[in-house]
């Protein structure tokens, strides 16, 4: 009797939720994500890629390579034909650099905010709208004490909103704020800057050298990503796909190349 009433109750709940929840009693592994390339092979080797339907945090101080990673990820997504959105909390995106990095600007919705309040509201609207391949939120220039004041339930809400969607929610910050809501947390640090003489004329004019770029050290702070079996390939052994939670287990370096197209 108990089993039949349970089955009746179950079917009733399923009928009530029909159209809103596909299968309410089906087990869903929330740590399995589809991963897409960051556009930087070294980073893909470290983390496996950026997870869809999850929040990723890229942290670091100024000049640590966060923007380079952001531009690379946006370029990778727009090159795949996806529509992306960039919520720019302090209006610091440079379209010239973005274009040179390979971003298809006509596929990037750029929201130029003036403060974090506008940025969070804009992020909420964009996630709710759906259909974006990536929603990137640049909070790099917002003071850390301001970002810390964002209540944790807001991050939970953002994570829940992006779940089960093909959208990558990418946050660029000075430090991680979303805590356990972020499925992937990376910390970047600036390495050595590389300078090179422009030509032999440097003898004539000693300052005529070029900033060629700088190296970036990246640490994997947290990863809740389980890579689906079919996505495990040899090159991603560093991502350790069966590990549920990783704590600072990976470190990788990549170098950036300065764009001289603007000059």
């Amino acid at each position: 009797m108990a089993a039949s009433s349970l089955a009746t109750l179950r079917s009733k709940i399923e009928a009530d939720l029909r159209g809103r929840v596909a299968s309410p009693f089906a087990y869903r592994d929330r740590n399995t994500f589809e991963l897409v390339s960051t556009g930087i092979p070294e980073m893909d080797a470290l983390v496996g890629g950026l997870p869809r339907g999850a929040m990723t945090e890229i942290c670091g101080a100024a000049c640590s390579g966060r923007t380079s990673l952001l531009l690379s990820a946006l370029a990778s997504r727009t090159a795949d034909g996806e529509v992306c959105a960039l919520v720019d909390a302090r209006d610091s995106f440079d379209p010239l650099t973005g274009n040179a990095a390979g971003i298809a600007l006509e596929k990037l919705l750029w929201v130029r905010c003036q403060n974090i309040d506008q940025a969070l509201r804009a992020m909420d609207l964009l996630i709710q709208a759906g259909g974006f391949g990536m929603v990137a939120v640049d909070l790099s220039d917002v003071p850390t004490r301001t970002v810390r004041q964002v209540p944790l339930n807001a991050w939970f809400r953002f994570r829940r909103a992006v779940e089960d969607t093909p959208t990558i929610l990418l946050m660029i910050e000075q430090e991680s704020n979303a805590k356990t809501c972020a499925s992937l947390v990376l910390r970047l640090e600036m390495g050595e800057a590389r300078w090179a003489a422009a030509s032999e004329s440097s003898n004539f004019y000693p300052f005529a050298k070029l900033l060629r770029g700088f190296s970036v050290r990246s640490d994997l702070v947290r990863s809740r990503i389980q890579v689906p079996e079919q996505q495990v390939i040899d090159i991603r052994v560093r991502a350790q796909p069966k590990t549920v939670v990783q704590q600072s287990t990976g470190r990788e370096m990549f170098a950036t190349e300065t764009i001289w197209r603007s000059r």
Partner: protein, 534 residues
């Protein structure tokens, strides 16, 4: 069969009720004429049952407590007639605009689309009902027979060939003509129905009534033939509404706008079209204090009404009334009218509806309608100019780009598929570009020079030692214009001593050494920090 006629009984009443659906229930009398001599020009059957008669004055009608009184609205009559034509064109391309309340359609070739004549008539009635009107439909081999059957019989009437005279026979003579003199003459003869009129000899009838008599005889027998006079489809879709009481709040206004939008969308749907742009124009109520002027003779004149106009341009054609209402509401919220609204005009620019044919391998993008609402909300949040996609300008001037409207270009995906695949390949192979963050506006800094290169930079109360420098990279342009520019740019590696950065460095906000771009503005003779490499 040949032709179908759609007739709207009590058209004047139905046109008003179409705009104000609350009037659908209960007796309703329409007043017309010049004030103060208003009299009843139309009423619904419930009002006639209650005792209302045509020609009654307003005071007489007011004695009937349960009868609602409205003014006749020519604006709504025109809109209802246009909607009726649109509904007819949705069924047949050959339509005659016989009268304000009567439409005739050529049914030739429609059997393969809709089936039998009954199905066509039912479909017509449904489509007319969708625009808010209740129609009588008659189908016959002859145009005139169809018209008279629709005016004489309720519901759907099918008159088979050969039965015209028999079926029309029961109708009163009044359906054939509205000329009072002719009707009086026929009535004096004791002829009341078409059957009796058809039985009269044609020759004697023509001797007494002339050609009009012959015409009436042919109509009564159902043998008069004529060609269809085709109406030209209009590309203008307009709806208007005049309000008894001016509306000031946005909420009640939304209901009215939503109703007009629904009517427009229904008309466009009937013509298989969609909205490309919506224009709204409000006539605003003049305020006494500002707009009424007292003349020397103490005679007050009514000033011309103020107007408020707004245009909503859509990136893709759409036909969803709810989406359009949301967009209109957002526009009105950002720039509300300055006075209560008395009259609403709404016109729609029609376009072919959007065809969405996505491929299996084309990534899904945002739904254009939903995206448009989101963009409108974002525009309200951050400002219209701070939203969109950046478009580079062909210039060496720093920060040379402009914002343009963001549109999801699905069509471009197919054309640019090959280009993007190449870009994807090259992006995988090339090195990661150094990101650059711009400071808007550029921040003023103080720079100490040593041996013609920056040695120290003072910024936000901090002193930075220049570790490495690259420059100067000189650029200038637009010297023939007022906004000329002439700059010397430097790429600097700046080290900030830890003691000066204080808490900021402890929190990790500032690195010990960072890469910055500064420039010297020759015209302003000042140094500025343009941004940082990140």
């Amino acid at each position: 069969m040949g032709f179908a006629c759609v007739y709207i009984a009590d058209f004047l009443v139905q046109a008003v009720v179409r705009g104000q659906r609350a009037l659908r229930e209960g007796p309703l009398a329409l007043l017309g004429g010049a004030p103060p001599l208003w009299s009843v020009v139309a009423a619904n059957p419930a009002a006639f049952e209650a005792g209302i008669q045509l020609g009654m004055t307003k005071a007489q009608v007011a004695q009937f407590g349960n009868v609602q009184i409205c003014m006749r609205s020519e604006v709504q009559e025109k809109a209802a007639h246009a909607a009726l034509l649109d509904a007819a064109w949705s069924v047949s391309p050959r339509v005659e605009d016989a009268a304000l309340d009567t439409i005739v359609l050529d049914l030739q070739g429609l059997a393969s689309l809709f089936g039998s004549d009954e199905n066509i008539a039912r479909e017509l009635a449904q489509r007319v009902a969708a625009i808010g009107l209740a129609a009588r439909v008659a189908v016959a081999e002859n145009i005139e027979v169809a018209i008279h059957a629709a005016r004489g019989f309720t519901g759907i009437t099918i008159i088979p060939p050969g039965e015209e005279r028999q079926r029309l026979g029961a109708l009163p003579v009044g359906v054939l003509t509205t000329e009072v003199e002719t009707l009086e003459i026929v009535e004096r003869w004791g002829v009341e129905t078409l059957q009796a009129l058809a039985a009269l000899p044609v020759l004697q009838l023509s001797e007494r009534l002339g050609q009009e008599g012959v015409r009436l005889s042919e109509l009564a027998r159902g043998v008069r033939q004529r060609s269809l006079v085709l109406a030209q489809a209009s590309s203008r879709f307009a709806e208007e509404m005049e309000l008894d009481d001016a509306v000031e709040e946005l909420e009640p206004l939304s209901f009215l706008l939503g109703r007009l939008l629904d009517q427009l969308c229904a008309r466009l749907e009937a013509r298989a079209l969609a909205v490309r742009a919506v224009r709204i124009r409000f006539e605003l109520q003049p305020s006494f204090e500002k707009d009424f002027q007292t003349l020397k003779e103490d005679v007050r004149t009514k000033p011309s009404a103020k107007q408020y106009e707004k245009m909503l341009t859509l990136p893709v054609p759409m036909r969803n009334g709810k989406t359009l209402l949301k967009l209109l509401r957002l526009q009105l919220q950002s720039n509300p009218p300055a006075a209560p609204i008395q009259k609403i005009y709404m016109t729609a620019d029609a376009a072919a509806p959007r065809v969405a044919q996505n491929g299996l391998f084309v990534p899904c993008g945002p739904d254009p309608e939903k995206l448009e609402v989101t963009i409108a909300r974002l525009g309200k949040l951050v400002g219209e100019g701070n939203l969109g996609c950046a478009e580079l300008v062909d210039s060496h001037r720093p920060e040379s780009f402009r914002m343009k409207r963001f549109v999801v270009a699905n069509e471009q995906n197919k054309r640019r598929g090959k280009c993007e695949s190449k870009l994807k390949e090259t992006s995988k192979s090339r090195a990661t570009m150094t990101g650059f963050r711009v400071m808007r506006p550029a921040q003023a800094v103080r720079v100490e020079m040593r041996e013609e290169q920056p040695a120290r930079v003072y910024w936000r109360g901090m002193r930075g030692e220049v570790v490495a420098a690259s420059g100067p990279w000189r650029s200038s342009g637009d010297w023939w214009q007022e906004d000329a520019w002439h700059q010397h740019e430097w790429d600097l590696a700046i080290a900030f001593p830890a003691a000066q950065k204080g808490n900021a460095q402890k929190r990790g906000e500032w690195p010990e050494q960072g890469l910055y771009r500064i420039y010297y503005d020759e015209l302003r003779q000042e140094w500025f920090l343009r941004g940082m490499y990140d």
